[in-house]
Symmetry: C2
Subunit: 197 residues, 2 copies
């Protein structure tokens, strides 16, 4: 008989396969084209098998979303290790967020329910998101120690600026080249960070 670990390993492999193909379909055809049956076909199983790994499509999407936030958090941790200057840190984190959205747009979409991606589980409940949030707030605090409310306000401003530019840059990508948008993004973030001083 096969050992229990062996079974578990194969379980984790098919689980990973489900997540992978979901992202793959989303990347190529958009999230509205992602269906359980299509995923099942791709991993050579029938549809109900997918439900052995994820209780619902919603939960699958939530998993992918949190995977995205986790990835971003790891990037942030890496940046925090490399740079000590809070200004540099915040700038590099912003750039990392841009790069993430450009490299894996389908993940960014499911994180914020953009462009046909739709997960009913509230984003704000995500622990991963909370980790990211406090990570950024911490840095802002580290160079202007103010009240919780002021930090929250500044964090909201930073997030809005970054998120707004990313989503609009995606939307206008045929109308305004991404490199140009990125330049504006970097300038704006730099100005924002300077403004914190």
């Amino acid at each position: 008989m096969e050992t229990l670990e062996r079974k578990q390993r194969s379980r984790e492999q098919t689980r990973a396969g489900i997540v992978l193909t979901a992202k793959d379909i989303a990347r190529r055809e958009g999230w509205q084209a992602v269906s359980i049956r299509k995923i099942a076909d791709a991993i050579d199983y029938s549809a109900p098998i997918v439900y052995e790994y994820f209780d619902s499509k919603d939960i699958l999407l939530d998993e992918i979303r949190n995977e995205g936030f986790r990835h971003l958090r790891l990037e942030y941790d890496r940046i925090k290790k490399v740079y000590r200057d809070p200004e540099k840190r915040l700038f590099e984190m912003s750039v990392a967020q841009w790069q993430f959205a450009v490299d894996q747009p389908e993940i960014y979409q499911v994180m914020y329910n953009l462009n046909g991606a739709f997960c009913t589980i509230p984003v704000c409940d995500s622990i991963e998101l909370e980790a990211i949030s406090s990570s950024i707030r911490e840095i802002i605090f580290s160079f202007i120690p103010k009240s919780k409310e002021s930090i929250q306000k500044l964090y909201f401003e930073w997030w809005s600026l970054s998120h707004g530019m990313i989503t609009l840059a995606m939307m206008l990508r045929d109308h305004q080249p991404l490199e140009q948008s990125e330049q504006v993004y970097r300038d704006s973030i730099r100005r924002f960070v300077r403004g914190l001083r």
Copy 2:
């Protein structure tokens, strides 16, 4: 026999009814809950009737989206008539955009494919959007006459700031009261407008 106008009037009424119920369902249950059959039921017709007025769901959504942009443009025109100072104009237009998104979130959602709303017709192809865009760019130009590229850059910055704050404020509404977000919005827009000077 009924006159042709009479027929046309009733046609336009049911057409308006379709649009109205679509928005109504979206407002109460979200865009992912809007279906042709549900709309048809609400206006006491069978599903195929809807297709007499809109060739596809996509086109219906596009209509609603453009209605939204048109509404916003009218607001902008009104503001331009009331105020002469470009700074005041841009500020009031920004506030109008905020108010619009708060009052009719379902429209704002379909305009930008947010939260389950999904229309495959590219937003950028909308003439109404173009009208709005040039309206804003015109104002920015009116107090800093620069090159087309610079104006486009500033417009992109303004739009990102506004759109980013609106979408995140919606997302965080349970976590951070809308009134507070609006205050931050007004402050940020004011700063942006000042910065143009």
